[in-house]
């Protein structure tokens, strides 16, 4: 085909011009790919954070604020003649309890696939020193602050729902429905490593010996509890000097819905069913996330998008003008072809062919630049942080001080939770498709523009043009 011969000759023998145009396009395409990759990375990071905070598979959570805020001194003592050990597990003061029966009611709401109840608890294992153990300055001996950790009672019927579901079992096994009556626990890898726990170790929780059957690793920054135990066990053992028994109580309901569109209706219905509860969804949680991740998100969506659009327009304009200039320089050549009886359409086709190939070359170079840009973003971007004011379902932090005047435990009921995520700019297939499409469109626009300009000339005029 003469078309291809001509195309090949033009591109090869005037390669520098084609390369120039292709490079111009590739810069625009590369920027679009980079920005898209960065914003994909940011949204992946956001998803990761939300999953860590929220639990994979969970669409809606239901919690209740504590009826009265308890903080400050919850427990005090005067050192006695002998050391006394206290080991107890209480519901966190920041969260109110909900009747276990509510779970079944939520499960029946239209649009809900499953609902799981859970209970977060604080475990304190402390040995109050004797008077003689206190130093002259009233300082307690090392190690007497004991052990504090968080425990999550997991609904064994719905292991795929809630924070437990976000973790991956590294060693041992997961909790199972048959564990309902067993004192077994899955330990968080972070806690297990710090305390030398392994599968098979025994751990004292609320004064009961629990066997560690598995170690789970939560996604980066996750870890809503140090131990996961069957909900029924948690309910049975939780108690405290100032709370009543909590059997058949929960503090969080994790809900999965049929589709995200159903979330608003489900939230409304749950609010109606359970007055006084707080119903959050991952999108409402996302709104509460602060920190550099949020700035990165808005940066990626606002500045990034504009940058990409500006770059693209500039690249397209440059490519179109360069192509038009190349075409204008060849005006006499096209006049000659029309003298030979070539139709305008054929000539425009020839120009289009050249600019489409150039556009494709620009796309390939642009994708390469995009990968480079994405790698640079991943390499240069600082660690992103995400902070949520209230992490639904996870216990607030606890601080215990001990001195001669007694022990003081303070709890900040609305602790903040900060998660670090690394930004991995990811070049997606969609971004590559977009790049190729854009470069092709750029090539076609440039070619049509050039072709249109020469097709308006009479052949005699085209022939008079000097280069």
């Amino acid at each position: 085909m003469f078309f291809l011969t001509f195309l090949r000759r033009e591109l090869l023998r005037r390669m520098h011009r084609a390369v120039f145009v292709a490079l111009g396009l590739s810069v625009g395409v590369g920027l679009v790919v980079t920005v898209t990759a960065a914003s994909t990375g940011v949204s992946n990071a956001q998803t990761k954070v939300l999953h860590a905070l929220y639990g994979i598979g969970t669409d809606v959570t239901v919690t209740k604020a504590a009826s009265s805020k308890r903080d400050g001194t919850l427990f005090s003592f005067s050192p006695g003649k002998v050391p006394v050990r206290h080991n107890y597990m209480i519901p966190p003061p920041g969260l109110g309890v909900i009747d276990g029966a509510a779970v079944a009611r939520v499960a029946k709401v239209h649009g809900v696939i499953a609902a799981a109840g859970a209970m977060s608890l604080l475990d304190t294992d402390i040995t109050v020193p004797s008077q003689s153990q206190l130093s002259a300055s009233g300082k307690p001996p090392a190690g007497s602050l004991g052990n504090h950790f968080t425990v999550n009672g997991v609904d064994l019927a719905h292991l795929k729902l809630g924070p437990y579901a976000s973790g991956t079992i590294g060693s041992g096994r997961s909790l199972a429905a048959s564990d309902a009556r067993s004192d077994v626990a899955v330990a968080d890898a972070g806690y297990a490593n710090a305390h030398g726990l392994k599968v098979g170790s025994t751990m004292s929780i609320a004064g009961h010996d629990f066997r560690v059957v598995g170690v789970t690793r939560q996604p980066r920054g996750g870890g809503s509890a140090d131990f996961y135990i069957p909900l029924t066990r948690a309910q049975a053992y939780a108690s405290s000097p100032e709370t009543k028994a909590v059997s058949d109580k929960i503090d969080t309901i994790y809900v999965a819905v049929t589709n995200t569109a159903a979330i608003p209706a489900v939230r409304t219905e749950i609010n109606r069913l359970l007055p006084g509860t707080t119903v959050t969804s991952s999108s409402s949680l996302a709104d509460d996330v602060t920190g550099s991740l949020t700035s990165a998100t808005s940066l990626a969506t606002d500045l990034g998008r504009w940058l990409a659009i500006v770059a693209l327009i500039t690249a397209f304009a440059a490519a179109s003008l360069l192509t038009a200039a190349n075409v204008a320089r060849r005006t006499r050549e096209f006049g000659t072809l029309r003298t030979l009886g070539w139709r305008t359409r054929r000539i425009i086709g020839q120009i289009l062919g050249e600019s489409v190939v150039t556009g494709l070359a620009g796309a390939v170079a642009g994708i390469a630049l995009g990968f480079l840009g994405a790698a640079l973003v991943g390499w240069l971007a600082p660690e992103l942080t995400a902070t949520v004011a209230q992490n639904p379902g996870s216990p607030p932090s606890e601080n215990i001080t001990l001195n001669s005047s007694g022990m003081r435990r303070s709890i900040s009921p609305y602790s903040t939770h900060t998660i670090n995520v690394h930004l991995d700019a990811q070049v997606t297939l969609a971004a590559i498709g977009l790049a190729v499409g854009l470069a092709l469109i750029g090539g076609i626009i440039a070619g049509l523009y050039g072709g249109w300009r020469i097709s308006r000339l009479r052949p005699a005029e085209a022939l008079r043009r000097v280069e």
Binding site: M1, F2, T5, F6, R9, E10, R13, R14, R332, E333, G335, T336, L337, R338, T339, L340, G341, W342, R343, T344, R346, R458, P459, A460, E461, L463
Partner: protein, 234 residues
């Protein structure tokens, strides 16, 4: 056969208009050879462009075998150019990125000639202008005379009935000029072409049975062997 009557062409140059052609009446029979002379800027190229269907006159009719090129639709005009008219340029106008053979082939592309036939016909055309051995050369690798031979082969490969040549030797050195004019003259005779040749610098051109002069856009016959008398300047 061309029949021109009352052909005028004006160009707009800023505010002013230039009358490049005025009241040209001309008949060119099939197989005629007409040489047109005249100084630069007097309308020779404008006339040739109108004969080639590359431009349209402002007034008058330009009939080629009874069809008026002045009012013909662009598509048909393109077809006339593709099938019936060969054009040789002063500055050769070869496509710089195409080889000699490919330049010649380009003239067969609008006719839809199959590739193999296109190649053989291009080779034949190049051989007929004495360039059999240089088919793969690029224009930049050839002398001016050789490039113009490629230009002539390209004009003739479609086997047109009309050959229009606008100062074909204008860009060549003395020795090559006559060669090119001689070649055109020979080819015309061999193929019984209608030849309109714009040139002013060689005695060879005067072998043409008809010689005309363009002055200020008007065409005046110098000599017309058909009526066998010299036409004087008016």
């Amino acid at each position: 056969m061309y029949t021109l009557s009352g052909v005028g062409k004006t160009f707009r140059k800023g505010d002013a208009t230039v009358a490049a052609l005025q009241d040209v009446d001309l008949t060119i029979e099939d197989g005629d050879w007409l040489t047109i002379q005249g100084r630069t800027g007097h309308g020779k190229s404008t006339l040739l462009n109108i004969l080639a269907g590359l431009d349209r006159p402002t007034t008058g009719t330009v009939e080629l075998d009874g069809r008026d090129l002045a009012t013909m639709r662009e598509r048909e005009l393109t077809e006339v150019r593709a099938t019936s008219i060969g054009f040789v340029f002063q500055s050769f106008n070869l496509i710089p990125t195409l080889s000699a053979a490919e330049n010649v082939e380009a003239a067969l592309v609008p006719l839809g000639v199959p590739t193999a036939e296109r190649r053989t016909r291009a080779a034949e055309a190049l051989a007929s202008v004495g360039l059999g051995g240089r088919v793969q050369h690029l224009p930049s690798e050839m002398s001016g005379g050789q490039q113009q031979r490629v230009g002539i082969a390209r004009a003739l490969v479609k086997r047109p009935r009309v050959l229009l040549a606008d100062e074909p030797s204008g860009n060549l050195d003395e020795d090559t000029r006559d060669e090119i004019i001689q070649l055109l003259s020979t080819l015309r005779e061999e193929r019984n072409l209608t030849l309109v040749l714009v040139t002013h610098d060689t005695t060879l051109a005067y072998r043409a049975p008809r010689v005309a002069v363009m002055r200020n856009g008007r065409l005046m016959m110098r000599r017309d062997s058909r009526t066998d008398k010299a036409v004087s300047d008016s």
